[in-house]
């Protein structure tokens, strides 16, 4: 790998730009996508690898090429700078997420509580809308205060984000479902919300709850059966 290719890969990462590295396995010749002068079949394979976030092997002009996608990190938007968020944020970073914490309560969302983390002190609808969740984004609301959580959920439900989770008991969630329905969200759409949030591992402490949430986010990302809830939320007493 030449210094130029290495520098270009590092620059793309710093700028959060998707880039694919193409390597001819017979002699180590390398190209980047997007980039000039790529034969169409290689460019198409590179675009597909980035889209699917999966490495690929292709043959071009009789030679084997390895297509290695380098996508920007998955994103996690956490609404609520609460105790569970303090446990969830570093775990999520370790798993590879770029994390943003949203909470208008400046006493909660502080650099002391979340060192080095991007904090947004706005209402969750404005903040989540500005962050523009896409298919590589997960949104988790942790305040269980409707006026703080609901606006963010409203925006998340209108996005393509791959995971939405909301802290709160079944009873809390049943009320939330009713409010979101009043806001005009369809039942199927509201069904995207994982609530009570996280895999059921009987978590008790804040780090345990964070672990259950992160495990469910990963399960959703990887299409695991564990991420699918059996039934939509109903008004069961918690």
């Amino acid at each position: 790998m030449t210094p130029e290719v290495l520098a270009a890969l590092e620059a793309a990462k710093a700028a959060k730009r998707p880039v694919a590295l193409l390597t001819r396995l017979t002699d180590g010749a390398q190209h980047l996508f997007p980039g000039a002068g790529l034969p169409a079949p290689l460019a198409e394979a590179a675009a597909k690898a980035l889209r699917e976030d999966a490495a690929a092997n292709v043959t071009a002009d009789g030679a084997p090429w390895f297509i290695h996608p380098h996508n920007p990190p998955l994103r996690l938007i956490v609404v609520g700078a609460v105790h569970i968020a303090q446990a969830l944020v570093p775990m999520a970073q370790e798993v590879g997420f770029a994390v943003t914490v949203v909470d208008p309560r400046r006493a909660w969302a502080t650099a002391e509580r979340f060192p080095g983390i991007t904090l947004i002190h706005e209402w969750s609808d404005d903040a989540v809308a500005a962050l523009a969740p896409d298919s590589r984004t997960a949104v988790v609301t942790l305040t269980h205060d409707p006026k703080l959580d609901d606006p963010g959920l409203d925006v998340a439900l209108k996005s393509e984000c791959f995971y939405i989770g909301a802290l709160g008991s079944r009873r809390t969630h049943a009320k939330r479902v009713a409010r979101l329905a009043e806001m005009g969200h369809a039942e199927a759409s509201i069904g995207r919300i994982h609530a009570p949030v996280g895999l059921n591992i009987e978590a008790v402490t804040a780090p345990e709850i964070a672990l259950s949430i992160l495990a469910e986010v990963v399960a959703a990302r990887r299409g695991a059966a564990l991420a699918r809830r059996a039934a939509p939320a109903t008004a069961v007493a918690a």
Binding site: M1, L6, T23, F66, H68, P69, P73, Q93, G96
Partner: protein, 106 residues
């Protein structure tokens, strides 16, 4: 990709510090290989290792090959697996097969 998985950045840091560095990348897997295509292991001539290309079964053999590549500058495509009959064969306990591309950071 988290910092802990960002082997390329680690390799770049070593290179910038003047070390001789090779990068090994899993390019293809069959069966129950523990690490997917794209997984990386960085090796320095001074003996540093970062990342992985397997569950630990073949890292030693890959590091040996990396030292050859650091010396010659020539990349290598390594085949590992139960059917591998090379002298330096190290079978994968899991029964998987994989190909690893080794290149020098110039």
């Amino acid at each position: 990709m988290s910092d802990s998985e960002d082997i390329l950045a680690t390799a770049a840091t070593w290179r910038a510090a003047g070390e001789t560095v090779a990068l090994a990348t899993v390019v293809e897997t069959w069966g129950s290989s523990p690490r997917p295509a794209g997984s990386r292991l960085a090796v320095s001539l001074s003996g540093k290792l970062a990342g992985s290309v397997s569950g630990g079964c073949i890292e030693g053999a890959v590091a040996d090959a990396a030292k050859q590549t650091m010396a010659s500058g020539a990349p290598q495509l390594l085949d590992f697996g139960i059917s591998d009959e090379r002298a330096w064969e190290v079978g994968l306990a899991c029964g998987g097969k994989l190909k690893v591309f080794v290149e020098k950071l110039t």
